[in-house]
């Protein structure tokens, strides 16, 4: 393949610190089985992913609250860590909210179909 | 305790220190005044400060509010500071021997005020620093008030 030859040629010229790995791109993996929204699909991995995401956001919220509480009580002086955990929790929450809104929109759209 | 009580406390500090500075300025201006309307030399003046008593609950069976109980920490009533009055410094006049002076007494000594400029300057610095500290307290109060109002913003 010309590309790998080219890469080899390049690394021969340069002091050999950069040798990109040009292997053929792996075959794309099939998308996870998209079960229906009620979770009765064949594999159910979508619903598991969703639950995992919600648990993760919840954990982040709990961590952020705990950090805020510790800061208020004077148990820690780590302002940057607290702000970081609050930001992460907020962004994760917003992300989840966007996904949830999109799901709701998709569901109502499908419901409106009348064929 | 209303919202403005901290402001009133700091304001009382400001007026008290300003009064102290006025009295000190008067002392310095009259440092060599040998004649006063009351007769005799000028007497150095001081301001007497005291804490303004807070509203103590006198009703009920415990008017002292438990302050006689040694195991309880003493509760604080905060209202600021007040100037109780301006009093004369009782230290004796400074005497200088100068028989030719029209204000000399029978022995030839002239009575000069008991004002020491250096001490007055030091007192002035202390009053000025206290004034600035009270200004800082008012600024902090305003900043905290703004933070509270910021909670209303979404």
């Amino acid at each position: 393949m010309e590309i790998s030859n080219f890469a080899n040629a390049m690394s021969a010229v340069s002091p050999g610190t950069f040798a990109p790995d040009i292997s053929p791109t792996p075959k794309a993996e099939p998308l996870p089985d998209d079960g229906s929204e009620t979770g009765k699909g064949a594999s159910g991995s979508f619903i598991d992913t969703l639950k995992g995401m919600l648990n993760h956001v919840n954990d982040q919220m709990v961590t952020a609250e705990q950090n805020s509480s510790d800061l208020a009580l004077g148990k820690t002086n780590d302002l940057e860590g607290t702000v970081k955990s609050l930001e992460e929790a907020g962004l994760s929450m917003q992300f989840t909210m966007s996904i949830r809104n999109k799901l709701m929109d998709a569901y109502t759209e499908v419901n409106r179909m009348t064929f | 305790m209303g919202y403005y009580s901290a402001l009133e406390i700091s304001a009382s500090g400001l007026s008290a220190e300003r009064l102290a500075m006025d009295v000190i300025a008067n002392n310095i201006a009259n440092a060599n005044t040998t004649r006063t309307p009351q007769g005799g030399a000028f007497k150095r003046q001081l301001v007497v400060f005291a804490q303004k008593p807070g509203a103590v609950d006198q009703s009920g069976d415990d008017p002292f509010g438990g302050s006689l109980d040694p195991t309880q920490p003493v509760k604080a009533d905060v209202e600021g500071v007040q100037a109780l009055g301006i009093v004369d410094d009782p230290t004796p006049d400074r005497l200088e021997f100068d028989p030719g002076n029209p204000d000399a007494d029978a022995r030839g000594y002239v009575h000069y005020p008991n004002v020491e400029i250096v001490k007055e300057m030091v007192d002035l610095m202390a009053a000025s620093r206290a004034y600035q500290a009270n200004v800082a307290a008012i600024q902090a109060n305003r900043q905290m008030g703004n933070n509270d109002l910021g909670l209303l913003k979404s």
Partner: protein, 146 residues
Amino acid sequence: MADIAPPSLFGPTITLLQHAVKGAHLEHEQIANNLANVNTPNFERSTTNFKDALQASLGIPAPADELGLQTDDDRQFQVDDGSPPVPFDPQATVDETVQMRVDKSNVDVDQETTLLAANADYQSTVSQLVQQQYKFLREAIQEQTN
């Protein structure tokens, strides 16, 4: 039938943070009074210990190890069982340390000014944390992200 408190939107964290803001205000009053009386003879400075009151309002949890004292009867004492939550109520107490100033006042203007700045910073931090909590609640309620 026991009184059941209506469910509240505001969990322990947000209540704690609100109490912290209030505590910072009370502390500011004490510091302002100390500063106003910096030249008052025989004055004793006062302070609140609102952070201790904050911790007490959460209750102190019992230690979680299994080596706790085994008791057979309710009348036997528990060792370090923790304490239940106490309503937040900081009191201003007088600081009776003696200082070697000629006018017997124990106010140090530098220390008070530093405490003033630290307290104002603390209030600023905690009020922003409260604002953040309100923002989370608002986003969840409105089902909208800003």
